[in-house]
Structure formats: C-alpha cells, structure tokens
C-alpha cells in the first residue's frame, strides 16, 4: 500500500508554474523526504495534498483512496507555520485540534510532555517563542497517535538542541512503524533521518527513490602513498572502478555503490610495491549530489 500517491500534479499561480507534473508515491513505513531549495514547490505540493490549495491539474490519493476529510484526520500535519489561536493557551488550542480530529483529550498532557511544553501549557500562544510555537505544532500532530505524519520544515527556527530533539523524535516515530513525510531544504537533515527522498527543482521532480540510491550513487576510495607516481601507474592497471580522478595529493577511485573491496585494493598496491599511507572510503557528498541534481 502507498500512503500517498501523487499523479502528474501541476499548479499555476498566474503565469508562474509552481509545480510541473510531479509524480511519485510514498511507501508505508518510510521516512520520505521532499528535498528542494526554497521556492521549489514543496509547500505548494503539501498544501494541495491537504486540500488548502487547489491543483491546476493532476490528482493524488491518500491511503490508496480518493482523499477526503476522513483521510486528513488520520494524518498529523504541520504545514509551513504553527497555526493556532493566539489568545488561547496551548491546552485550549490542542482541545480544538483534538475535537476536529475526533480524538479524545486524554492525549494532550502526553504530547505536551513529548515536546517539553508541560510547564507552559496554560500560557497564551501569543507569549510563546518561535521554537515553542514550532514544538506546539509538532505536539498537535502527535495527538491521537496517527500512523502518518507530515512535517514541513519541522526544525525551522529551533536551536541546535531543539533540532536534535526533533530529529530524535522523528527517528523514534519511524521505529514505531509510522510513515513520515518531511519537506526540507536542509540536505543533512534529509540524509540523517530519511529512508526515501524526492528532489524538487523549480516545481519539477528531479529524482525520487531510496535515499541511498538517489543521494549516494558512488563510493569514493581515496588513496595516498609516499610514491604517488608509482601509485598512479599501478592503479591504472586495476579493474573494477568506474572512474579515476586526482584530488590534490590523493587519487580518487569511483566504484558503484556496494562494490568496493578495500582489502583487495590494499593488497594489490602492496603486492605491486606501493605501501599506502592513506586510504578512506567516502560516500559521495550529499551536497555535491544535490547541486548536481538541482543545477
């Protein structure tokens, strides 16, 4: 079953095309990152899925069925900004959310505790700091323990401790078997928490699939030796890598994911009279991959 399936989604704002025929689907149990620079259409897409924006063309399904308010009630969603009644306290705001979601109020103390807001639960929302507002929005998503969560830039405006806490929370939720859809422009955030990714660029889907396939399609082995000239000669005769580059004082060998055997390379060099003084296996940097995909 796919939690969310998007089919050829387009959205125009006047002459501006915010989404240009995006198609992908989110498998159950995944942490699905929607990655893209600012203005790439991430929030627009999530807005359409939540029925607050109307698509120009295209369609989508939630839980393999046509979406309606019942399917939205089964999802905890935090979109763009924390939206609450400023004149009400956290508890009163969450009571409204719980009632709309048709869940009981018994979860409220628990979710406030999960995001460390228990002490300020009776303060008005307008007195909260940005980070607290953000955490209240996440608490409201967790009401009723939904199986699917959608977070749009969940760590925006949080301090480093807050960011680490939220990422930890997302990992825990994933371990509990929940499906999480997360939009982010932060590369390392997606790399750290996501299992799957869709990359958007100016409203177009550039790539989608398993994070390891999309974001790291090459293993890089960096080698260094006292006699670099000899190393280059013997490495030239080695088989199995797809590309070779010189990077400063090092030689870089590119292998398809999972095919690298460091032991064999080391032995080969030693047998051919070169003693390595540096050897490291690197995943292709996410950042470089991101720039490669979006530029």
């Amino acid at each position: 079953m796919s939690i969310l399936s998007v089919e050829n989604l387009c959205k125009n704002y006047g002459a501006v095309q915010a989404l240009k025929g995006v198609t992908f689907s989110v498998p159950t149990g995944s942490v699905f990152g929607i990655l893209g620079p600012n203005g790439s259409g991430k929030t627009t897409m999530l807005g359409i899925i939540m029925d607050i924006l109307k698509p120009t063309t295209g369609s989508y399904t939630l839980f393999d069925a046509l979406p309606d308010e019942n399917s939205r009630r089964k999802i905890g969603t935090f979109l763009e900004t924390p939206n609450f009644y400023h004149y009400l306290s956290a508890v009163r705001n969450l009571k409204i959310t719980a009632a709309i979601k048709e869940r009981g109020e018994e979860d409220i103390p628990k979710v406030l505790e999960m995001v460390n807001l228990t002490e300020r639960k009776d303060s008005r929302f307008s007195t909260y700091s940005l980070g607290m507002k953000q955490r209240l929005a996440i608490a409201s998503c967790l009401l009723g323990n939904p199986d699917v969560l959608i977070f749009d830039e969940p760590t925006n405006g949080l301090d480093p401790v807050g960011i680490a806490e939220i990422r930890e929370l997302i990992k825990q939720l994933h371990q509990q078997g929940k499906t999480i859809i997360m939009a982010s422009h932060l590369l390392d955030e997606v790399e750290k928490v996501c299992t799957h990714v869709a990359i958007l660029k100016k409203g177009k889907l550039v790539a989608t699939g398993d994070v390891n396939e999309i974001l790291a399609n090459d293993d890089i082995v960096e080698l260094g030796a006292a006699d670099m000239e000899k190393l280059k000669v013997i490495i030239g005769q080695l088989n199995g890598y797809s590309n070779i580059k010189e990077q400063g004082n090092l030689v870089q060998l590119f292998y398809p994911v999972g095919t690298t055997n460091l032991e064999n390379i080391n032995r080969y060099c030693f047998d051919n009279g070169v003693v390595l003084n540096y050897m490291q296996l690197k995943k292709k940097s996410l950042e470089s991959k991101f720039f490669e995909l979006t530029n």
Partner: protein
C-alpha cells in the same frame, strides 16, 4: 452540526472581544430603549407641541415590539463587528488552513461560520424580545402580541448585517481592512439609498408613479426599510407624500440578498486557494 458548533464555541468562549462586544450589545439594546422610553415619558409628554399632536406612547403593548426592534437596529453593528473579527481571526492566525488540515472539510468550515452568524442573529433577537417585554410591561398596558412580526424584521436585519460582515471578511481577510470596507460600504449604500428615496418621492409627485421607497431595494437597506419607528401622528401627516411601503417585495428582496451573500461566501471558501 452540533459537533462543529461545540468546536466553534471552544474558539469563542475565551475570546475577550466576544465577551466585550456581546455585553455592549445587550446593555446597548436596553440603554438605547431606556433613553427613548424616559425621553418620551418625562419630557415629550410635557411639551405643549406634543400635546397638540395627541398622545403617543411607543412602548405600549403592540407598539413596544416595533419600537424596541427599530431602536436596537441602530447597534447591530456590534454583532456584525464580532462576526468580522471571528472570521478574519481565522485568516490572520491561518487557523482556517489548520482546521482543514486537521480534518474539517471546506464545506464544514464555512457552514459553521454561517451557522454562528445565524445564531448571533437569533440571540440578538431574543435580547430584543426580552427588552421589548420589559418596557412593554413597564408601560402598564396589557400584554399583546400584535406587531410581534417586527421582531422578525429585526432578525432579518441582524442576519443581513452578519452575513454581509461574513462575506466581506471572506473576501478581504484582514480585520482592519474588512471593518473599514464594511463601514464604507454601509455609508455608501445609505447615501445611494437616500438619493433613490428622494427620486421615489419625486416620481410619485411629478409622474404619479408609485414604485415604493427604492432605497429599500438595496442589500443592507432592504432589511433596514422593514424596520421603522411606529407611526406617530406626525409621521401620519407625512404619509400623504411618501411612496407606499411594499413590505412583501422588500422581504423577498431581503431573502434573495441573504441567499446571494451565503452563496458567494460559500463558493469563495470552497473553490479558491486558502
């Protein structure tokens, strides 16, 4: 719908502006009628000019319903203002989006707002009925339901004000701007309505053509036109030159405008990006 209204009540009950505006309205209805009541009782009856045109007691039973409804009609801006604040708050706090994200349909979101506007009109009418009853009883006349239909006209006027307020809020979304437009529109419509009324009188006088008070055919003035101060002897004298009040036509128009306002607000929420 009860479930939706309960949620709406959670939003409203701790909102200071709600408490302030509704108390002002309730007190205002009593106060404005008390002023007319005491002016009429203590001063008007003492003036010799008043004696000349005969006895006139606007709070005697059968007239009390009309007088109270008419007088209370002047402060219907207060509930309308509350409706504007409740609706534009949703846009300001972006909770209109959140309500839908959390599991309301767009339809439910706008329906419960319309229902709130309807309930506000009903409660305003109940306050008017209670006030009319108190002043009627204070006038020491025997109870009568004659003229009670005027409280119905008051309800129509209250509902019209609330629905116009709702429509303007849905279209404009920002509290200050929406309130401004509401007032400017009211002023503008009143101005046009006065011109039309003068024209109506002229048509009748010059061409013998009685089209009624045409000012009453405009959206907010339709409900206004239904609510008049009770006929006193002076007003009776003026009747000869005034066009006829086509009450049933104005009522139908009023209802038609209400349908239009509701349809427009509903469509706007259902069909556009939120």
């Amino acid at each position: 719908m009860i479930k939706l209204l309960k949620i709406e009540w959670l939003k409203i009950k701790n909102y200071n502006a709600f408490i302030i505006l509704s108390s002002f309205f309730a007190l205002g209805v009593v106060a404005i009628n008390y002023v007319i009541y005491s002016v009429n009782k203590n001063m008007f009856s003492e003036v010799s000019a008043a004696k000349m045109i005969g006895k006139f007691s606007p709070y005697d039973f059968d007239k009390t319903w009309q007088t109270t409804s008419y007088a209370a009609g002047w402060i219907l801006l207060l509930p309308a203002l509350l409706i504007i604040m409740l609706m534009t708050n949703e846009f300001t706090y972006r909770t209109h989006r959140q309500n839908i994200i959390d599991g309301w349909g767009r339809k439910q979101f706008i329906e419960v707002k319309m229902m709130t506007a309807l309930i506000a009109a009903l409660l305003s009418t109940l306050i008017v009925i209670a006030t009319a009853l108190i002043f009627g009883l204070a006038s020491c006349t025997s109870f009568s339901l004659d003229g009670f239909s005027h409280t119905g006209f008051f309800f129509l006027k209250a509902l019209t004000y609330n629905m116009v307020a709702l429509l303007i809020s849905v279209l404009i979304r920002r509290t200050g701007f929406a309130t401004g437009v509401f007032f400017i529109y009211m002023g503008f419509e009143n101005f046009v309505s006065q011109l039309l009324d003068v024209w109506s009188i002229k048509l009748r006088k010059d061409d013998g053509l009685d089209l009624g008070s045409m000012g009453d055919y405009l959206p907010m003035n339709a409900a206004d036109g239904l609510l008049t101060f009770p006929d006193n002897p002076l007003k009776g004298l003026a009747r000869g030159v005034m066009p006829t009040d086509y009450t049933s036509i104005v009522m139908v128009l009023c209802a038609a405008y209400l349908v239009l306002f509701c349809w427009w607000s509903y469509n706007r929420i259902i069909k556009t990006d939120l």
